[in-house]
């Protein structure tokens, strides 16, 4: 039983890393955006395997459905010359690689040292969505409301920033 869950887990993690690698090494922004979809889908699958269905669905809706589509639209609309993709380049590769690898080693070593026994495991048959709904309106009511204000502010802010006209365009 354990093996049955573990095999797809490793497959999806491997795929996620593979897609992330494509994002990192491709020079064409559009390829990067599509690999991002792959990464997000694999991460959503990992969430399902970790019995966090609600987070998995949120991941699909917000990232795959919203953010990536927006990104791809952005790339396609700004990409006026159709036969040429947007090419990005990277600088300071050597220094960047050293920093990234050393950071990875430190963080990886640190994670290995964490004793995960402190985190309570949930039983598998619990209804996730139901529980999240109840918790959001009792235990986590205040953060829920703060998030509402954050969203309101963000909405107002985006309308203010996008809605302003400079004097030249006004005339």
């Amino acid at each position: 039983m354990v093996v049955l869950i573990e095999i797809p887990f490793y497959i999806f993690s491997g795929l996620a890393i593979l897609f992330a690698g494509v994002i990192l090494f491709t020079k064409n922004l559009l390829y990067g955006a599509f690999s991002l979809v792959g990464t997000f889908l694999c991460v959503a699958a990992i969430y399902v395997l970790a019995q966090a269905e609600f987070v998995a669905v949120t991941q699909l809706m917000v990232y795959v459905g919203g953010i990536v589509v927006l990104l791809i639209f952005g790339v396609m609309l700004t990409n006026k010359i159709t036969d040429k993709g947007i090419i990005t380049s990277s600088y300071n590769r050597f220094l960047g690689a050293i920093i990234a690898i050393s950071l990875f080693v430190v963080l990886f070593y640190g994670i290995l040292k964490i004793n995960f026994g402190a985190v309570k495991g949930q039983s598998a048959d619990m209804n996730n969505v139901n529980q999240i709904g109840v918790e959001l309106l009792t235990e986590y009511l205040l953060p829920f409301e703060i998030a509402a204000v954050v969203l309101l502010i963000a909405l107002i802010g985006s309308s203010v920033i996008s809605g302003y006209k400079t004097k030249e365009t006004d005339e």
Binding site: V119, E139, G157
Partner: protein
């Protein structure tokens, strides 16, 4: 579940200032729908009235918390009401009041003024929640509320420079909060809870391996340092302060920064783990304080733009506030509160006059202030006093504040033999001398240089100048009679 719901309804009564802020935000939003562009004075008056109501509610809370023995948990311990948090809230509301009184100076975009005042309330709400936060989730969300509102406010000059500054701010901010969130997830993995004063949280951290604990605590600390613009997370400050509208820069230098210091004070008490922390946090903090003071002061020496100069000065002041954390005692924490109150007075006064000079005469560079004393003696003298206060010289409250921080450092050296306190004390004193050079550059131009073109004599009586002169009087009073402020601070208890 029933008891949780009862706890929520019971908490509402202690949450009135925040509820008032949210209601004012929504009311301003609705008011902004009518006749935008012509009613901006009305929005300002409305905002001031709402802030006055909030202030009354916060002062009411101050009386309530007077007889609290322990912190009062609200909303299932998501936030806590303590006398310290109410003190910070008073400072934040005062800062917001002065900022709103400065008005929305941008004449070309008058139709955006209701949004401007509304966003000021957003920052204020974030600050209120941050100083009361007792849960990593609340800390993160209130920091996001503060930051997202701040990014938007930065772009309110509506020109290329302020757009660029806002995007830089957004990118740095997103990276910083990402790092902080990652650190918080580690803390959850170590302890299994998000409530920072929980026994389980502290117990889990004490039992945890030194390496993951250190990494998690430092990553979380980075996000908080970003909010108070202390080194090495200060890079955004000069650009943002220069490009944002002057009242917004003044607001950023006070409210998010002091709220950040407020949560940092609590956070240091938590990760100190009653002295059993594997890391000596005094050394970490002392280094941060030294770098902040050093970078702030040395970079300010070469600045020509007054707002940029004040930005670097605010980085240096963050360093001094962190220096108070290094001393880590009740006296030191009280010194931080005193210093913050004085910092509010002097920084706001400086920005008020700079804003006036910028709006009325178009002054942005230090040279522009040449011979101001001959034309506007009152304003010139007031600016000189403010600059002396920012340097930290008598007879101003700036001296008293620095003196209290330095003596707390000295006490910590004598009592616990903490060498780093001594190094920091010496470094801070040396830097005060360096700070003289740039802070007194402005008075030098105002008094000793003669103006080539004098601005026309005009009346300088306006609400914001009135507040500015009032603040200057307060700065002087806080030197000669610091007792009343000290009495307020002494009634604060740091029970944890």
């Amino acid at each position: 579940m029933q008891e949780k719901l009862t706890a929520i309804t019971g908490s509402m009564g202690y949450f009135l200032p925040e509820i008032a802020i949210v209601i004012s935000l929504v009311l301003l939003l609705i008011a902004g729908l009518f006749n935008a562009g012509r009613l901006n004075k009305l929005y300002q008056v409305l905002a001031l009235a709402f802030l006055a109501v909030t202030m009354v509610l916060v002062v009411g809370q101050w009386q309530e918390v007077g007889d609290l023995v322990r912190p009062l948990p609200l909303f299932n311990n998501m936030v806590q009401l303590t006398s310290v948090s109410v003190f910070w809230k008073m400072i934040c509301v005062l800062g917001a009041f002065i900022t709103v009184a400065m008005g929305f100076g941008n004449q070309d975009f008058k139709d955006k003024s209701s949004e401007y005042y509304l966003l000021a309330f957003g920052v204020l709400l974030g600050a209120h929640l941050l100083v009361m936060a007792n849960n990593l989730l609340t800390i993160y969300l209130s920091i996001e509320l503060l930051s997202i509102t701040a990014y938007i406010l930065t772009s309110f000059s509506f020109n290329a420079a302020s757009k660029e500054a806002a995007v830089k701010y957004l990118l740095f901010g997103a990276a910083a909060s990402g790092v902080m969130l990652f650190g918080m997830s580690w803390l959850y993995a170590l302890t299994g809870t998000l409530t920072i004063d929980d026994v389980q949280f502290l117990d889990g951290l004490i039992k945890a391996n030194a390496l993951p604990f250190t990494l998690a605590a430092i990553m979380t600390l980075a996000g908080l340092l970003y909010k108070i613009s202390a080194a090495p997370m200060h890079i955004w400050a000069p650009d943002v302060y220069t490009a944002a509208p002057t009242p917004v820069a003044a607001y950023f230098s006070i409210v998010p920064k002091l709220a950040g210091i407020g949560i940092l004070m609590k956070w240091m008490m938590v990760i100190n783990l009653f002295g059993s922390s594997p890391v000596n946090w005094t050394i970490v903090l002392a280094t941060i304080a030294m770098i902040s003071i050093g970078i702030g002061n040395f970079s300010a020496l070469w600045q020509n733009n007054v707002k940029r100069l004040l930005a670097y000065s605010s980085i240096a002041h963050s360093g001094f506030l962190v220096a108070g954390l290094v001393a880590y005692s009740e006296t030191a924490y009280k010194a931080i509160l005193f210093y913050s109150a004085i910092y509010l007075l002097m920084n706001m006064a400086a920005f008020l006059f700079v804003n006036h000079a910028e709006k009325e005469w178009g002054y942005t560079k230090v040279e522009d202030y040449k011979g101001l004393i001959n034309v506007q003696p009152l304003l010139g003298v007031a600016l000189v006093i403010v600059m002396i206060a920012l340097t930290g010289l008598p007879p101003t409250g700036g001296f008293t504040g620095k003196f209290l921080i330095f003596s707390a450092l000295w006490d910590s050296y004598v009592e616990s033999g903490n060498d780093w306190s001594l190094y920091l004390l010496i470094f801070g004193l040396m830097n005060t001398v360096i700070a003289l050079f740039y802070y007194l550059k402005l008075p030098y131009y105002i008094i000793f240089k003669n103006a080539e073109q004098k601005p026309q004599k005009q009346l300088i009586f306006s609400l914001q100048n009135f507040i500015g002169f009032f603040l200057v009087v307060m700065i002087l009073l806080s030197f000669f009679k610091p007792d009343s402020l000290m009495r307020i601070i002494n009634s604060v208890s740091f029970a944890f």
